[in-house]
Amino acid sequence: MSKLNQDQAPILEALRDFKKMRVVPFDVPGHKRGRGNKELLDFLGEKCLTADVNSMKPLDNLCHPVSVIRKAEELAADAFGAAHAFFMVNGTTQSVQSMILSVCKSGDKIIMPRNVHRSAINALILSGATPVYVNPGMNHDIGISLGMSVSDVQKAIDENPDAKAVLVNNPTYYGVCSNLKEIIRIAHEKGILVIADEAHGTHFYFNDRLPASAMSLGADMASVSMHKSGGSLTQSSFLLISDTLSEGYVRQIINLSQTTSGSYLLMSSLDISRRNLALHGQEIFDKVIDYAADAREEINKIGGYYAFSDELINGDDVFDFDITKLSVHTRDIGLAGIEVYDLLRDEYDIQIEFGDIGNILAYLSVGDRRQDIERLVSALSEIKRRYEKDKSGMLSQEYINPEVVMTPKKAFYAEKVSLPIEESKGRVCSEFVMCYPPGIPILAPGERITGDILDYISYAKEKGCFLTGTEDSYTERINVIK
């Protein structure tokens, strides 16, 4: 697929050359290669701080790249099969927001599943776009929300032919993919753009045993969290576009909110990681796939746990499944996912990605070792032996279909009043409530607060979920529309 020589890493090479020049810094950053901040230098090391430099002619400028960053972006675009790739240093959150801001102006409609990450709904507050929510499918046995079914998307398009875009998770946090190919076909038929949140899908671009990537299927934009499965530094990300969008316009949108002091630590990590994936992605993710398969088999042998995988595929709202994901359903041993998550960390020194009401998710990557995966399996076996409980009275549902009363932007900026959360039933919420991770809102601004939702929040709190989003940091009070 690559047309360029993926062996290059222009930003890395430019930084290496720059270090050799021993240029005397009378520019920012003020730590001056770390000499002005010894404690930081001792902690992060000289190699790190001498690469923490400012934009300058030999190193290009992220806001308007013309040389090495431009070249690195072209290489990334080539590796991902996109018309252009933007280096992003404000997280995939900014990539997702830039996608939505690029395709929707105030008042425009965007079709999206409700189980999106908060960054997508935040973009609606910024842009003033109106969401047309498609309720995701549900698997009631394991209590997770799935992808969107094509017929639901078709219905949303038919009812909203003026929609500007469809946003698709490819995949969801749990690794579930919608039928993106068909969604792209029916959307494009009506002139509607398709943008993909691929925060959990970087690896799809580099291994042929995984679900198809958004760009390969003809999506118009995709946000790719290189720092998740791609191995780059936290907060670095790519925004990919096809030739249906103007690179210059998308750059302008990005520059509305992106720093003008782009970090070369983040950019070089993107450059190096892109090269690594382009050259070795197939073998790297083959290994991760094997690790995950082995771990699932061993976990399922313990009994009580259900480590699920591509057997969930049903041709519709689970059109495909990311088999590198290690998700485990825990309710049958009488423990909420969040309880297993806490036990793993507090009792066994094992940190996993998240635990929610019924499931845990362990993130596997190229950095894993077989013996560490064995530790996880052994600890799960021990948790079952020592903590297994009766499962009656446990909540099963991860997702409650919302009643949307007004747009997120209108609700967020409306006159509001703060109420004790237990007295808020029936009111319209003006802020987010979510467990973080995974960061999928239980309530978003503009949605009706129901008894079911309050029960869910109180159960999540009781089990130890970390609730965020509300102005009140303890989530004891909630802002509702006056």
């Binding site: 009792e347 013996q371 399996v377 052994s378 021990e382």
Partner: protein
């Protein structure tokens, strides 16, 4: 020409042995394996540059990790040794006619092959018909065992590298599960002296205390290990290592040992005050 093997016991302390020549070097899937010959200690084995055993002092470690549990419960018949691919612990255990079966689980087949070739006096019982060798991760092996062994000996490397999983709470919990009601677990437990080793020793002790009703620590002097002061853990479901010691029964066996005796056994559990404090602070 002078050739020296040096191991850093701490960032500020080196331990060096004059080497005559290197006999073996290999890189396995798990670690770097080296065997040297030396004037003072004879042949010695290092893994990733860390001293594992020498001809001269291996008897201390291997006698103390085996005879202590064997003399507390003379009815031990089925044993699991985890790590210990050199065969030293198995050699001592095979001296008991009452032992019926030993499973040895060593992650690194190359260690066993190298020891068979270069340390025949240590590995001599690995071919005993009562011994079955499994080449796999000890943590994985034991996870599937329940109520099966009378004794588990954890003859691990250090709590970093391939031996890391053998110092974890999930491992000790799985050992508990794999032992029967009379079960005893003995483990090598690092040194109390240098702070990094002491920290690892305390962590291991804390996790064992959380996993077993009885958990005591004993010591031996091993010249080639950091500080020379080495600890072992004795954990069990039922037996106390000193009050349940059956001195007469063991002495009747007339096993000839160079370090272990039933008196050393009792004495080994008498720990220096600073070590007692380190242990009590995590109990």
């Amino acid at each position: 020409m002078e050739l020296w093997f040096t191991e850093q016991h701490t960032k500020n302390v080196n331990f060096s042995i004059k080497v005559d020549r290197q006999l073996y070097h290999a890189k396995s899937e798990f670690q770097r394996i080296d065997i040297f010959d030396s004037p003072e200690f004879g042949k010695f084995l290092t893994l990733d540059g860390y001293m594992m055993l020498t001809d001269k002092d291996e008897f201390i470690y291997h006698e103390m990790i085996t005879h202590v549990p064997m003399s507390v419960n003379p009815n031990i018949k089925k044993i699991l040794v985890i790590g210990g691919g050199d065969g030293g612990a198995v050699r001592e255990l095979c001296r008991y006619e009452t032992v019926e079966h030993i499973d040895l689980v060593e992650i690194d087949e190359m260690v066993v092959a190298a020891c068979k070739k270069y340390f025949p006096k240590v590995s001599c019982s690995l071919d005993d018909e009562r011994v079955t060798i499994y080449y796999e991760d000890g943590l994985r092996f034991i996870r599937n065992k329940k109520n099966e062994y009378d004794l588990i000996i954890v003859d691990s490397t250090d709590p970093f590298g391939p031996g890391e999983g053998l110092f974890t709470k999930e491992f000790y919990g799985n050992c508990y599960k794999a032992l029967n009601d009379d079960g005893i677990m003995v483990n090598q437990q690092e040194s109390p002296f240098y702070s990094d080793d002491a920290f690892a020793m305390q962590r291991a002790h804390k996790r064992i205390v959380e996993s077993f009703p009885i958990s005591r620590v004993y010591q031996a002097h091993i010249p080639t290990y950091p500080s020379g002061h080495w600890l072992f853990g004795f954990a069990s479901k039922k037996f106390h290592p000193v009050t349940d010691l059956n001195m007469n029964a063991w002495n009747m066996l007339s096993l000839k040992t160079k370090y272990y005796s039933t008196k050393i056994h009792v004495g080994a559990f008498m720990l220096p005050n600073y070590v007692k404090e380190l242990l009590e602070s995590v109990e």
